[in-house]
Symmetry: C2
Subunit: 199 residues, 2 copies
DNA sequence: GTCCACCTATCAACTAGTAGGAAGATTTGC
DNA sequence: GCAAATCTTCCTACTAGTTGATAGGTGGAC
C-alpha cells in the first residue's frame, strides 16, 4: 500500500462513502462501482474488505448504531435538562440537514425499504429504532418527573411520536428541498412539550 | 390480445403492480422483469405501454396524485367537521397499514430517495407533497376558525407537522413490523388538536 | 389494410461476486 | 540480524445474472 494508510483507513473510507450514498438513494441506490469511483479503489478491493454487500450493509448500520449511542450519551453528559436535550437533538439534525452534511438519517432511509432489505441488515435497522425509542422514552420519563416536559401521553408513546415527527420532518425537508422546513416542523412539537407554552 | 381485455386493463394492471412494488422497495426496488412476472406479460410488452421506466414512474405518480385528490374531496364531502376529517384521514391510513393493502405512501417512499429520482418523477412527488400540504392547511384553517381544532401554530405549520407525523408513523410502523404503531403515534397528535383535551 | 397488443430475440451496460497474481509489510525460524 | 514464509492490500481479468431498452415479427380487431 502507498502512503495514506495512517491518514485514512480504507474500510472506513468505504463505509463513509456507502453511508453517503445510502442517505441519498437507499440500499439499492448504490453499487460497489459507485464506491470504487469515489474512494479511488477497484471494485474487487471493496470485496476484500466487505466480501458481500450484505456484510457492508450490516457493518455500516451497526457502526451507525454505535455512533448514535456514543452521540446520545455525550449529549446527555453535556446537557442536563430533558427539554434542552430534545432541543439539542433536533438542533443537531437541523444543522446536519441545513449544511447538507447528513441530509437524512441512514436508518430512516433503510427502514422505508425494510421489506426488500436483506434480513441481516433489516435486523440492524430495527435495532436502531429500538435504541432511539428507548433513549427518547427515558428522556421523556425524566422530563415528566422533573416537570420540565409536559407529557399528554405515556412516555413511550410520546417518544414514538417525537421520533416520527423527526423522521417525517426530514422527509418533508427533502421533498421541499428546503432544510429550514425541518426546524419549522419541529418547533411546534418542542413548544407543546414545554411547560412555558403560551396557551 | 386474449379475452380479459374488458375485465382488466393491461396498463392499469402494470401501474397497480408497479405501485405495490414501489411501496415495498422504492424506485430502484422494482424492475420491468418483476412486473412482467406478476402481470403475466413479457418485459417488451410493458415497454409498449410505458416506453421507459421514467414514463411509467411519471404516470404512476401523477395517477396517484389524481387518486389522492379525488379521495380527499370525497372525504370532505362525506365528513364536515375538520377534526373528524383529520380523524377519518388517519383512520384510512391506519386501516391500509393494518390490512397491509397499502402499507406505505408511494410518494413518501419516493420522497425519501428524491435525490436519485429521475427529475420528471421527482417533480411529481413534490407536487404530491404540495397537494397534501395545501389540503391539510385548509382543513387546519377552517378547524381553527370554527373552534373545533386547537392550533398552537400557524395553520400551514400545523399542516406540515401533521403530515410529518403521518409519514413518520408509517415509517415506525414498518420498522416495528406492527401496524398498530401507526394509530398509537397519531392518537396523541389528534388529541392535542382537539379542544376537549384533558390537560 | 392499417392499427394494436403482444411476442421472440437481442442489446449494451451494469450488478454483485470470484480467481488468481503482484508487491509491500509483518512475522517467524535460525 | 537476516532471510524465508506468511499476511495484507490491492490489482487485472473474468463470470453469470439482471437492468432498461430496441428491432422486428405475428395475429387478431376495426
Amino acid at each position: 500500500m502507498r502512503i495514506m494508510s495512517n491518514l485514512t483507513n480504507t474500510p472506513d473510507a468505504i463505509l463513509a462513502c456507502a453511508r453517503n450514498l445510502i442517505m441519498n438513494g437507499g440500499y439499492n441506490g448504490f453499487s460497489y462501482a459507485d464506491i470504487a469511483d469515489v474512494v479511488g479503489i477497484r471494485k474487487a478491493s471493496i470485496h476484500h474488505h466487505f466480501p458481500s454487500k450484505v456484510d457492508l450493509g450490516r457493518v455500516l448500520v451497526s457502526r451507525y448504531i454505535e455512533d448514535a449511542r456514543a452521540g446520545l450519551s455525550q449529549l446527555e453528559q453535556s446537557v442536563e435538562d430533558p427539554r434542552a436535550i430534545l432541543e439539542a437533538y433536533t438542533n443537531h439534525w437541523a444543522q446536519c440537514i441545513a449544511d447538507s452534511s447528513r441530509p437524512f438519517c441512514v436508518c430512516a432511509m433503510l427502514a422505508s425499504e425494510l421489506p426488500i432489505l436483506p434480513p441481516e441488515v433489516a435486523a440492524e435497522v430495527r435495532a436502531f429504532f429500538r435504541l432511539i425509542s428507548r433513549w427518547l422514552t427515558s428522556v421523556m420519563e425524566r422530563g415528566g418527573k422533573e416537570g420540565v416536559l409536559v407529557l399528554s401521553s405515556a412516555p413511550e408513546v410520546e417518544a414514538e411520536a417525537f421520533m416520527a415527527s423527526v423522521h417525517g420532518a426530514m422527509l418533508s425537508a427533502r421533498a421541499y428541498g428546503d432544510g429550514r422546513t425541518f426546524a419549522t416542523i419541529l418547533a411546534p412539537t418542542l413548544r407543546r412539550l414545554s411547560p412555558v407554552a403560551a396557551h
